[in-house]
Every structure is written in C-alpha cells, then in structure tokens.
C-alpha cells in the first residue's frame, strides 16, 4: 500500500473520530494498526503520519503542540530500532524452527518402530516432546519367545538431549545379540555413555523383557522413574521398583535383574518423569493420581489408556508440557 493511501486512510479515520468520538472509529483504528503491522510499518512512521494529518485537519494548532509531537517522534525512533530487530529475530526464529522441525523428524524416524502385537500382549505407547525434540526414548524388540522394551530419559531437554538420545539409539542397535538380558544391556550402555557423552549429561533407563513361554517379566533400571505393576489378582497397583545408578555416572556399573510372574489381566506401566512431574495449579500430581486415571480406563485397549492419561494431564497443566512425556502400557 502506497504512503499517500495510508495517509489519507489515517486522515479519514482520525477526522471521523474527532467528529463522532465513537467506538466504531476506534475499531477502525485497531484494524488500521493491524494492517500497518502486517506491512512492517514501524511505530515512528505511524507517529509521523499522525503529525502530518494533525497539521492538515486541525486548523491553527498551537506551535507547542507541534513541537511536543516532534519530541514524541524522536522518542519513538528508538522503538523503531527495537521493532526492526523484532522483524529480524522473527526471520531467524523461523529459520531455526524449520531446522528443528527437520531434526525432530529425523529423530522421530530414528525412534519410531513397530509396536509389537504378538504373544497376547496389548501395548499402548504415547511419547510427546516438551519442545520439538525429545530427550525421551523408547524401543521394542519382539522375537519368537519374548518382547523387550526399553524406556530412557536424557537428563535435560531440547536439542542437546535429543542429540544424546540419538546416540543411545545407535548404541542399542549395535549391541550384540548375546547381551540382551536387562542387567547386561544396561551395563553395556553405561559403558558407551560414560565414554562418549559429555560428563554433564546423564541418562536414566529401564529395560525389561517379557518371556512369553514362562510368563515372566525380567527387568533392570538405571535410576529411571519407577513404573507400576497392576496386580490383577489383588486388584491393586504396585510400584515397579528396581535399583541401579544412572547411565554415565561411573565407568563400570552393575545392574540387578528383577523378575515378576505375570498372569492374565496384569499390566505393566512404564513412564518417564515427565508424566509424574506434571505440575498443576495445586502442585505436583501424586503418583497415585496417575494410577487412578489408569484405573478408570483400565478396561479399554492399551493405546486408549495412554491417550486418555495424556489428554487428562495435558489439560491439568494448561497445555504446557514442562518435560518430555512418555507412557507405555503393556496389558497381559
């Protein structure tokens, strides 16, 4: 839009307001302001337009008033500088966002794999990054006799956490087959992490294997947020506690392997601390409250359970995730 057109628009609106002093003219003023912003007109240009129009439409304006407007213009020049910086920041931010989108997609394609559906286990997974890139990680492997599941959380969020997470993925992929027992997996990974990752970065991880032939779930944990075991017989949620130090803390760590007998109707719930550290208006959520939400959806398919928990917690937090959120439910 040409300057003279803007000027005469402003003149008409200002004249209308001076004459009628009504809300309609002010609404037009707001729309005009939006249009000026859309066209990247800086604030000092608006003040300058104002000065010109005032000169035209108000006869015999006091010289002092005109001088005062000159002064206002001078002060607004500084806001113009800030405004142009804003434009340029936006451009930079858009570029960064585009880059992060690409990186997040690469990361997603690294993590996402088939969710196993055999051995009579119904599995549901939801994993949502707090920002675009996630520092949470999960992975399933199914073979003729077992389903193994890994869940990990890089301490930290965003881009650096996501970079470390990619490393964990490569390390998992290159583990030899004979090292697939939970305790062994964790101590191998501990070694990789200790050697390759920045000393300020740690990773917590839970690794479990469901042995379908024996109905046993064996697991180990490297300082990871404990999951839940739903005991169908007693109809209660139990803590899935396992001890072990976080990955990357010391050169050699050993991890105890725990075992659980599984019966039909039982459930294993694995999560990252982004689920339990959900901060609501009333403070942190209790772990029991999460169990309660799961209980209320318990008879739905596993995927619906995790979706419902996420939906509920997202709303409780006013749609702001403070940490990456990963929740896995295995229904036996």
């Amino acid at each position: 839009m040409d300057y003279t057109i803007k000027l005469s628009q402003y003149e008409r609106m200002l004249a209308q307001y001076i004459e009628q002093r009504d809300e309609r003219a002010l609404y037009k003023g707001q729309k005009f302001s939006r249009k000026m912003l859309e066209q990247h007109v800086s604030p000092e240009d608006v003040v300058s337009m104002h000065i010109e129009v005032v000169k035209r439409i108000i006869p015999h304006v006091d010289q002092k008033v005109m001088d005062s407007l000159e002064f206002l213009l001078e002060v607004m020049i500084g806001y113009g500088f800030a405004y142009r910086e804003h434009q340029s920041l936006r451009t930079r931010q858009e570029q960064l966002d585009a880059e992060i989108d690409i990186a997040a997609n690469i990361q997603k394609s690294l993590v996402e794999g088939e969710i196993p559906s055999g051995h009579g286990v119904d599995i549901g997974v939801i994993s949502k990054p707090a920002k675009k890139m996630s520092g949470d990680y999960y992975h399933f492997v199914q073979d003729d006799h077992s389903i193994s599941v890994a869940i990990a959380d890089v301490v930290g969020k965003g881009i650096p956490a996501a970079m470390c997470m990619s490393m964990i993925k490569y390390a998992m992929d290159s583990l030899p087959d004979y090292r697939k027992q939970p305790g062994d997996v964790l101590s191998s990974l501990n070694h990789v992490v200790e050697q390759n990752i920045d000393p300020s970065m740690f990773i917590t991880m839970f690794y479990g294997v469901y042995h379908a032939d024996e109905n046993i779930f064996s697991f180990a944990s490297a300082g990871h947020e404990p999951g839940f075991f739903y005991n169908h017989k007693y109809d209660r949620f139990e803590e899935l506690v396992a001890k072990g130090s976080v990955l990357g803390l010391r050169r050699h760590s050993n991890y105890t392997e725990y075992r659980l007998d599984i019966e039909p109707g039982d459930m294993i719930i694995l999560l990252s601390d982004g689920v339990t550290e959900c901060r609501t208006e009333k403070g942190f959520l209790e772990r029991g409250e999460i169990a309660d939400i799961i209980r209320s959806e318990m008879h739905s398919p596993a995927q619906r359970i995790v979706d419902q928990v996420y939906y509920n917690l997202e709303m409780l937090q006013d749609f702001v995730l403070r940490d990456d959120f990963t929740l896995i439910v295995l229904k036996f």
Partner: protein, 133 residues
C-alpha cells in the same frame, strides 16, 4: 457493578458492541486509560476469533471480586469447530500471528488469568481475567 453483560457475536459490527461494552465496564471499574484501551483490544481479538472461526458466539463481560481483589472477567463462548492443537495455537510467534503479537497468545500475555477449553466439533470456551491494581 454486579451486573453481567453479554454481547452475541454474529457479524463484524457486534465486535464493536463488545468493544464498547468492555470499554464502558473497565472505565466504570476504574481501570486506567491505557488499560481500558488494552482490554478493549483484547475483547476485540476474542470477538474477532469467534466471528472468523466459529461464525456465532457470545462475549460476556463482568466485574468480579476475589479475596477482596477486583477484576474484570471476559468469557468467550462459541459452538464452532473447536481447536485441534491448543499447544500449537498458544505458541508464540506461531505463523498465524505474523508478527502482530495478537491472537490468543497476545490476549493471554495481556491478562492475568487465561483459561481455554476446546473440544473438536463442540466449540471453544475462553475465560480471561484482568485484576485491577
């Protein structure tokens, strides 16, 4: 001051009605000049959102008192298509704003309390409160 007033939003000129009402109530409540204008613009944004995305809806404006604090409460209700990804819409600098700083994040930044509840196919409810200082 205990009255609560609503403006149905069906066309663009209803936006002006909602603005008028907001300006009047905020002035009566004792908000300063600039705050009156800001609140009016926020109401205008909410009403415009109804007009653009839901066709019909309603803006309610009421003075409230909470623990002795006086505030202006704006409620925006529509039965439109709802918002698919609230996290995305509330994100700053998201392309829809185009650098205008307006839209829902702009309203949220301006107000002291901002709650949004939206269900797909059912509509959107927004409550925003500005305390009088």
């Amino acid at each position: 001051m205990e009255t609560r007033s609503s403006v149905p939003i069906n066309n663009e000129w209803d936006i002006v009605q909602a603005r008028q009402l907001g300006r009047q109530i905020s002035r009566e409540m004792g908000f300063g000049h600039v705050d009156q204008a800001r609140i009016t613009t926020a109401i205008s944004e909410l009403a415009r959102n109804i007009y653009l995305y839901a066709n019909n809806g309603e803006i309610t404006i009421e003075p409230i008192v909470n623990l002795g604090k006086k505030g202006l409460k704006i409620t925006s209700r529509d039965k439109g298509p709802g918002i698919k990804d609230i996290r995305l819409v509330m994100q700053d600098g998201y392309t829809t704003s185009g650098g205008l700083g307006a839209g829902l994040p702009g309203v949220k930044r301006l107000m002291d309390i901002f709650k949004i509840d939206s269900t797909l196919e059912k509509g959107t409810n927004i409550v925003a409160i500005k305390w009088l200082r």
